[in-house]
């Protein structure tokens, strides 16, 4: 075999590998979908799709914010606590009407975001530690405001949680709209470009004169507000505020969705389509295991394996 053919074969293999890494998550979704179609009874039903989609919506919304944080070479561990805080605020201020309460819940998310972003941008604390502090404090704050589970009786909230347009639940519509919005922000706005530049190389971004601090704070505000939106929607769906358990381990699911979707942890790149597919993939994986009577613990193990595989693939991509 001549060097030339050998070289071409390697190139072909590389390209195949590259394609697999780039579109692997979509392939995974399709494969799992087909597997379930064949092997899972009642999988292909409107009712099932509806349930799955409604379950995935809050995770996806949190993952969108997480994608921005990871794109800026950060991470936001506080998202689960922000969900808890938003549900507490919502219950507390429901007396002023649902829209006022929702607004206050979102402002709460934004405030946590400002705190996260300031620690990271002004003090120079690593994102993982800064958001860790807010994760601990945020959950505590949520429990101080609302010590235990409280039912939410409000017609507007109930319709937000279970209503639909032409059979598509509001939750799914909102998640889809937010995904489009975030994708647009990343691709088409100055903020998006600055975010990616900062994630690529913060020193270079600073030397280029980008408003690094402002952008970083805005990134964490976006993440906080999106997590608060997810908290509000989850509350509406459950018709109850449960600050003890709402959003527990949400940071893990969100990070998994983002990473599996092909956004590198090293920042500088955000894939919103991949994040959507990543969230769907995890949801399908969970469904597959549960519907076939495998214990929930297997889901965790499977999720762990998927994370490692995805990051391993991303590593190869990063080296190229």
């Amino acid at each position: 075999m001549t060097d030339l053919t050998l070289g071409r074969m390697t190139a072909d293999r590389d390209r195949l590998l590259h394609l697999l890494q780039e579109y692997g998550v979509y392939l995974g979704v399709v494969v799992l979908f087909l597997v379930n179609t064949v092997f899972t009874p009642h999988f292909l039903s409107t009712e099932n799709f509806r349930t799955q989609a409604v379950q995935v919506a809050p995770v996806l919304i949190v993952a969108l914010g997480m994608a921005l944080a990871i794109g800026s070479e950060g991470v936001d561990l506080a998202v689960g606590s922000v969900m808890a805080l938003s549900t507490s605020l919502l219950s507390l201020y429901l007396g002023y009407g649902p829209w006022a309460a929702i607004l206050i819940a979102l402002v709460g998310g934004a405030v946590i975001g400002v705190a996260n972003g300031s620690l990271i941008a002004f003090v120079g604390v690593q994102p993982i530690v800064a958001t860790l502090a807010l994760m601990v404090a945020g959950r505590g704050l949520a429990l101080v405001l609302l010590p235990q589970l409280k039912d939410v009786h409000d017609p507007a909230m109930a319709s937000l949680g279970s209503g639909d347009v032409l059979g598509v639940p509001y939750l799914v519509l909102i998640a889809a709209a937010l995904a489009l919005l975030v994708a647009f922000v990343v691709r088409r706005t100055t903020f998006g470009r600055q975010l990616l530049a900062i994630g690529d190389s913060r020193p270079a971004a600073r030397l280029a004169g980008l408003p690094v601090r402002r952008v970083l704070i805005l990134v964490y505000v976006c993440s906080g507000v999106l997590a608060a939106v997810a908290g509000v929607l989850a509350t509406a769906r459950l018709t109850a505020s449960d600050p003890t358990s709402l959003g527990n381990l949400m940071e893990l699911s969100a990070i998994t969705a983002v990473v599996v979707g092909g956004t590198p942890l090293s920042g500088g790149r955000v894939r919103i389509g991949g994040t959507v597919a990543g969230a769907v993939l995890i949801q399908l994986l969970t469904t597959t295991l549960i519907k076939h009577d495998l214990p929930p613990s297997w889901t965790q193990i499977a999720q762990a394996v998927v994370i490692v595989l995805a990051v391993y693939a991303a590593r190869e991509r990063g080296k190229r």
């Binding site: 530690v129 505590g140 704050l141 101080v144 297997w298 193990i301 999720q303 394996v305 994370i307 590593r315």
Partner: protein, 340 residues
């Protein structure tokens, strides 16, 4: 590296102009970083004993010492990891897994009760280390995955958390957790011994030097001939072993393996290490500081519990706020040191 860029250029030139003042300031920063936690701990303990009659009682101190002991062993392993510039999020799950495995194994004798958790948790730590050092994956994400995975294994072992394994109260293993020596619980003695050992290893052995070197500057460490990969693999294995052992010790104390333990423990351990003066960027830290950090966390929790009107939710708010303050102070001190 980022901090270097954050550093104002002007500060650098002033530092060169006044070498004497600079070195004094540098020394002060280092002192504050090294002993700040200890001073805070002493102040907190004095304040607590003046405010509550119930604080300086034998029972209360013993309880604090015991509950600190288990966290301290976890924090010991975490210190090594953080000094290399890494992080280990799997320790909470490994702590719980170690406890359940120990309780299950205790029916076959103390040796099995101790060796089984060490073997399993050590193996998971080793896997963490291999993925991080050989495959060059981010420590944060690898240990996040094993945090999930270990919790999954744990649930699988206990029939989705429904089964509780009890330790025979009369076994030697149970005595290991429950007996006292000179009025102090055996787990506390074991923890102290491990900390002395850990401090000697980090300060006085070649391996300890490698740990600092890898955390200080990985490329330089490699050029200097330090076995970077092997050092990293060792610290994650060590962290897994510590977490598993702490879990086993805890199971001996509780005479049962409790599935739900250890969630959030990784955060407590990281907080303790950071409060103790170890830099999360790696290359700088003390074993003794982590012990002080654990004690400080426990004293704060204890004080909040003593204030009856405050519920435990405030504990989290205070812990989180305290961690933020410490990290801000530490980043500031660290930056000063690096400037000068």
């Amino acid at each position: 590296m980022t901090t270097d860029v954050d550093t104002p250029v002007i500060a650098k030139s002033t530092a060169e102009d006044e070498p004497t003042g600079a070195s004094r300031s540098e020394r002060l920063s280092a002192l504050a970083q090294q002993h700040g936690a200890l001073v805070t701990l002493i102040v907190a303990m004095i304040a607590a004993s003046l405010s509550f009659d119930t604080f300086l009682t034998g029972d209360n101190l013993e309880n604090m010492a015991l509950s600190s002991a288990f966290l301290a062993v976890v924090a010991l392993g975490m210190t090594f990891v953080i000094v290399t510039g890494g992080i280990d999020l799997s320790v909470g799950s490994l702590f719980a897994l170690g406890g359940v495995l120990a309780a299950w194994g205790s029916r076959y004798g103390t040796a099995v009760a101790l060796l089984l958790p060490l073997a399993v948790c050590g193996a998971i730590g080793l896997l963490n280390g291999l993925l991080i050092a050989r495959s060059r994956l981010a420590p944060f994400i690898v240990t996040l995955a094993s945090m999930l995975g270990a919790r999954g294994i744990l649930l699988s072992v206990t029939d989705e958390g429904s089964k509780t394994y009890l330790v025979d109260k009369d076994s030697f293993f149970a005595k290991l957790g429950q007996n006292t020596l000179l009025g102090v619980g055996v787990p506390v003695w074991i923890t102290l011994a491990l900390f002395v050992l850990g401090a000697v290893v980090l300060r006085r052995t070649r391996f300890g030097q490698y740990v600092y070197a890898v955390g200080g500057n990985e490329d330089a460490a490699a050029l200097m001939g330090a076995p970077v990969a092997r050092t990293k693999i060792s610290v994650y294995t060590l962290s897994g072993l510590c977490a598993g052992f702490a879990g086993a010790l805890n199971a001996a104390w509780l005479v049962s393996g409790v599935t739900i333990l250890g969630s959030g423990m990784e955060l407590e351990a990281i907080s303790a290490v950071v409060i103790g003066g170890t830099l999360l960027t790696g290359g700088f830290g003390f074993i003794s500081g982590s012990l002080v950090g654990v004690l400080l966390l426990k004293v704060i929790q204890n004080v909040i519990n003593q204030i009856g009107s405050l519920d435990s939710a405030y504990q989290q708010v205070v812990s989180g706020a305290f961690l933020a303050v410490v990290v801000i102070a530490q980043t500031w001190l660290g930056r000063r040191r690096r400037v000068l």
